[in-house]
């Protein structure tokens, strides 16, 4: 089980990093989303993995999983939505303004010659 979670974090990080290094805004944004998943799972896993013991107090349960990472990750998920929305808006604004969705701001000399409108 630990191996599955750890490898999932690894796979998500690798995929996220690869997409982050692309040249257009959309894959970069998706890459950031993948990295967000990886980071959230990573933080969540710092409470270690517990199955079938949610942190809801009851008289029957004797074991609870660590609630603190869950609280942290919960807000992180919501904030990451806000962050994604801002980044998407910036990317969209740049594209609408210039008809170009490259993330790299190359020097002016090569700008117009090597790139056409997508």
């Amino acid at each position: 089980m630990e191996f599955l979670v750890a490898s999932a974090v690894g796979v998500l990080t690798a995929g996220g990093l690869y997409l982050m290094l692309r040249l257009r805004t959309f894959p970069v944004i998706l890459g950031m989303s993948l990295l967000t998943y990886a980071v959230n799972i990573f933080l969540f896993a710092s409470g270690r993995l517990t199955i079938g013991a949610p942190p809801i107090l009851s008289d029957d349960a004797s074991l609870y999983t660590d609630p603190l990472p869950q609280a942290l990750v919960l807000t992180a998920i919501v904030i990451s939505f806000g962050m994604t929305a801002v980044v998407v808006m910036i990317g969209l604004g740049a594209f609408l303004g210039s008809d170009d969705d490259h993330v790299d701001d190359l020097p002016d000399a090569v700008d117009d010659n090597t790139r056409g409108a997508p």
Partner: protein, 959 residues
């Protein structure tokens, strides 16, 4: 008046001129004058204590742990400088009222002036050296604003920048010196530091501290080789020059040397550095001043020269030198401020400051002539004027000073300096006022109104008064000198007298005056010689130095930071991975302490789907819609994983966020191209794969290692589990942590979320106002639109679902404290309900039914959460302390009422507002792009007439 009020008055008063700006120029100057006058009178109320030899103190603890306290001290020296700053400040304010023209923004000018005044008063009254540094930097900043006040002049901007750079760097090095000093003594209070002369001078760090502090003093007081900024600061309006360069800014360095004199002086290092720097500056400044044709430049270099003189006197380290320095500070402030103001008058009336275009003004401007002549003769050292007295004291001190061996060196150089000083003073009188009246002045000169000449005239009265009756000033000078010496040396017995008998200083003085007259006679050939001599131009050297540093930093930064996002992303990833690898390979890893849990087929299936979807995204990311679907699968698997690992709250949050994120990305994809073209080379993709795989392996290893080991310390979660019900009144520990234990964090987070949504809204507004708007209007959809934009089935279904969604949201919200749910999740669920309406019936229809703007919803949420927190103040508890009680309303069962629920309501509203405002902003863009949005809830409505024509129109327009 308390010292705290004296220092605070100019700062708070700085708010007034701006407010009075529209009330007229006199009101603006009047209020500034009143503020300064109040501070001045406040200072004078402390005079009896100072005269009695007491040290007035005021103290407010600021950061006691750092040794930084708001401690103020008023002794003779501080009083003397504060008197100069406030007194001359009053004259300058009156003068500036008449000097500035109608085009100048007077409120802005007086605001800067008061800020500067406050900072200067702060420096001279500080008892804490860290506080002194704060004020010191404030003078650099406010003088930058003052020097660059005429923003339209390039010289003004360059001069201001140069002054800021030079004095700012000096300030930085002084911070270092002061911190060393504080460390040596163990206290940052001046009153303590000044008692520890032997301790400081015996410390091995004495010399570095001395050099760093002197760098700060020398840059501020324009000592060689940092003298070059002062003449360039002359681009400022004349009142600024008169204020900054006679009595205040440039005297700050002098003040600090005098302040630190008891502990820093007396050593060979101090003597050699300070005396030689002062001597060089004095001679150099005087020589350059003689050959300047701009009146203000001449005065600027003469200021440099006189500052050198004072520095040299402080450098001697003798009590007599200190007394001469104090006296000359006073005299220089009086005659130099008068001269600067007169130069401003001449500039104002004749429209030129070029000495070559002036001459013969004696008859045209008699009042100005008298003022300039008296103050210039005082500066030249003519008897019966105050400059003579202190100059003779200087020559006497120089006569007794031996530097680098030869006995004649210091007196000779001092005499040369005085000689040139006398020469430029005579030149100033002769070339500007004497000689025949010319008929080619740029403007017809005449004496200015009384408002402009009275301030310098008051100073001239002082010049004569001290010069004729030095015994009037002597007690005060001795009082100030005593506080400079601070017990490190005995107060000199000597008296300030006009006639000392035939002492060597008198002969040196006579030589200087005679030589000055001789120089004036020889001025024309001397000027030719001067013009023919090649000299290094300080500004060119400075500019090329700055250019070289800028080039160097560009060479370092540009390869790393060239504007290409991919480059920094890759660099950051590699550096982080390398740092992690270094930590892992050098640290030690303990053995596994947890047993591996076996994974069932469900877990493996979920894992496979997640890995497959991620791999698919990477391989097929060029098809953007497909990759969006795949990321949905990833998100779903993550949610399922949260359920599996006992985190129901997280699962619900992740799942709902997933929905709104996908809707958001779809809205964006509506505009963006659908396909990512192949652009990167194979080599680049191999490189990126390498970085990605390394990063993936690193996070995998890290996660795997710690999942098999228990935490090193005891997590605080035990506390949360134990107190969740007892203290927070809820059984859902995650929710209680969010709204109670760590409510303050949550409060911050909803604010961040709200800011993000407002940012998106603002960006949309900007886009729609700019050129993008036209582009959007002309944009053709890149793929055929659906004919049935608002299908009836979907409309009906979403309408039916809406109350159910709201009910679920309500339920999830209320049960949140005790079971999975809460404000965040309920907010997301309700948002999805709203989004469905937008999707089904379009933007126009939905927003016309919207009663409250989403900004208001965000604001209400943050406000409710904040007020809930503040509410606990009313019962004397800290912010966001929660309380709860159980009530029973028949026929319901007993239930809980908690203030945390109110807080959660705030969270709920903020989340709804933020999510909806973001999505709405995106759809506003979409609406602008294809305007034919229907106001009807659905495209085909049997109750409406002519549905077919409506439908065909929509299809035709593609829209």
């Amino acid at each position: 008046m308390s010292l705290l009020i004296i220092v605070a008055l100019p700062f708070f008063g700085a708010l007034l001129p701006g407010l009075m700006n529209s009330a007229g120029r006199s009101a603006c100057a009047g209020v500034t004058f009143a503020v300064s006058l109040a501070a001045f009178i406040g200072l004078l109320t402390n005079l009896p204590m100072v005269l009695a030899g007491e040290v007035v103190m005021a103290r407010v603890d600021w950061m006691p742990a750092l040794g930084l306290n708001f401690t103020l001290m008023l002794d003779g020296l501080g009083f003397f400088f504060a008197l100069l700053i406030l007194g001359i400040g009053l004259l300058i304010i009156a003068y500036a009222r008449h000097y500035l023209s109608r085009d100048d923004n007077m409120g802005e000018f007086f605001t800067y002036l008061l800020l500067f005044q406050g900072a200067m008063v702060g420096i001279v009254l500080s008892d804490n050296i860290l506080l002194l540094l704060v004020f010191w930097e404030l003078t650099s900043l406010s003088s930058f604003l003052l020097i660059g006040y005429w923003k339209h002049l390039p010289e003004g901007r360059q001069g201001a920048r140069m002054a800021l750079m030079v004095t700012g760097m000096g300030g930085l090095s002084m911070i270092g010196g002061m911190v060393i000093l504080g460390q040596i003594v163990g206290s940052y209070d001046l009153s303590v530091i000044l008692q520890n002369r032997d301790l400081i001078q015996a410390d091995p760090l004495y010399v570095p501290a001395l050099i760093l502090i002197l760098l700060g003093c020398f840059t501020k007081s324009a000592q060689f080789p940092f003298h070059f900024w002062l003449p360039h600061a002359m681009a400022a309006p004349t009142p600024v020059s008169a204020y900054l360069h006679s009595a205040t800014m440039v005297k700050a360095g002098i003040f600090l040397m005098a302040r630190m004199w008891p502990v820093l002086s007396g050593t060979p290092e101090w003597f050699y550095i300070v005396t030689s720097a002062g001597l060089i500056t004095m001679v150099l400044g005087a020589v350059i001043a003689l050959f300047k044709h701009d009146l203000k430049a001449l005065l600027a270099f003469s200021t440099v020269s006189h500052l050198g003189l004072i520095t040299m006197l402080l450098g001697t380290g003798t009590a007599f030198g200190a007394m001469a320095a104090v006296f000359h500070i006073l005299n220089h402030a009086t005659f130099k401020a008068a001269l600067f103001m007169s130069a401003g008058i001449i500039d104002h009336e004749t429209h030129t400051r070029d000495i070559r275009r002036l001459g013969g003004l004696r008859k045209l401007m008699p009042v100005t002539f008298v003022i300039v002549t008296i103050s210039a003769l005082s500066m030249a050292g003519i008897p019966l004027l105050n400059g003579f007295l202190s100059k003779e004291m200087m020559l006497e001190a120089a006569h007794d000073t031996v530097l680098f061996g030869p006995h004649w060196l210091v007196p000779a150089l001092a005499t040369v300096g005085s000689l040139f000083s006398a020469a430029y003073c005579f030149r100033l009188i002769d070339h500007v006022f004497l000689g025949p009246v010319r008929n080619d002045y740029p403007a017809k000169p005449h004496d200015p109104g009384a408002g402009m000449w009275i301030p310098p005239a008051i100073l001239v009265v002082l010049v004569v008064m001290i010069g004729v009756a030095p015994f009037l000033a002597e007690p005060f000078v001795k009082l100030v000198t005593a506080s400079v010496l601070g017990g490190a040396a005995a107060l000199p017995e000597a008296h300030i007298k006009i006639w000392h008998g035939p002492v060597p200083a008198l002969f040196l003085s006579l030589t200087a005056i005679a030589g000055g007259l001789f120089m004036l006679a020889l001025f024309k050939p001397a000027l030719r010689l001067w013009d023919a001599t090649p000299r290094p131009e300080a500004k060119t050297i400075f500019d090329s130095l700055v250019e070289a540093i800028a080039k160097l930093s560009r060479a370092i930064i540009l390869p790393l930071h060239n504007g290409a996002f991919t480059r920094y992303a890759a660099l950051a990833a590699v550096v982080i991975i390398a740092a992690g690898f270094h930590a892992w390979s050098t640290g030690s890893v303990g053995a596994a302490t947890r047993t591996v849990q076996t994974a069932g087929p469900v877990a493996i299936a979920g894992w496979l789907m997640l890995v497959a979807a991620t791999a698919g995204m990477v391989l097929m990311h060029r098809n953007r819609l497909l990759s969006l679907i795949l990321i949905g699968i990833v998100g779903l698997m993550v949610s399922v994983g949260f359920v599996f690992f006992s985190a129901p709250d997280l699962a619900m949050t992740q799942f709902t966020v997933e929905v709104v994120t996908i809707v958001l990305l779809l809205l964006a994809l509506n505009f963006l191209p659908n396909i990512t073209p192949v652009e990167s080379t194979v080599l680049r993709r191999v490189r990126d794969t390498g970085v990605a795989v390394a990063g993936g392996l690193a996070t995998f290893a890290l996660t795997y290692y710690y999942l098999l080991r228990d935490a090193v310390g005891t997590p605080i979660s035990e506390f949360h589990l134990a107190n969740s019900y007892k203290g927070g009144g809820g059984t859902n520990v995650v929710n209680v942590i969010l709204v109670d234990f760590r409510g303050f964090d949550t409060y911050g987070e909803i604010i961040v979320l709200g800011i993000a949504a407002l940012l998106i809204y603002a960006l949309t507004e900007t886009l729609l106002d700019g050129p993008v708007r036209a582009r959007l209007l002309n944009r053709l959809p890149d793929q055929p639109r659906a004919g049935d934009v608002h299908p009836m089935m979907m409309v009906v279904l979403t309408r039916v679902l809406m109350p159910i969604v709201l009910l679920v949201g309500f339920y999830i919200f209320w049960r949140g404290h005790n079971a999975p749910g809460g404000g965040f999740i309920a907010g997301l669920i309700v948002s999805i309900g709203f989004v469905m309406q937008y999707m089904a019936s379009g933007f126009t229809w939905t927003s016309s039914r919207l009663r409250y703007p989403y900004h208001g919803v965000i604001g209400a949420g943050v406000l409710i959460a904040g007020l809930t927190g503040i509410g606990s103040w009313l019962v004397g508890k800290p912010f966001l302390t929660s309380d709860f009680t159980y009530v029973r309303i028949p026929p319901f069962d007993k239930f809980e009422l908690a203030t945390a629920a109110l807080f959660d309501l705030g969270v709920f509203l903020a989340v709804v507002g933020a999510v909806m405002l973001s999505l709405e902003s995106f759809s506003r863009l979409a609406r602008r792009a294809h305007a034919s949005d229907s106001e009807h809830p659905m495209d085909i409505d049997p109750s409406r007439e002519g549905p077919s024509s409506n439908a065909t129109r929509t299809v035709k327009q593609g829209g």
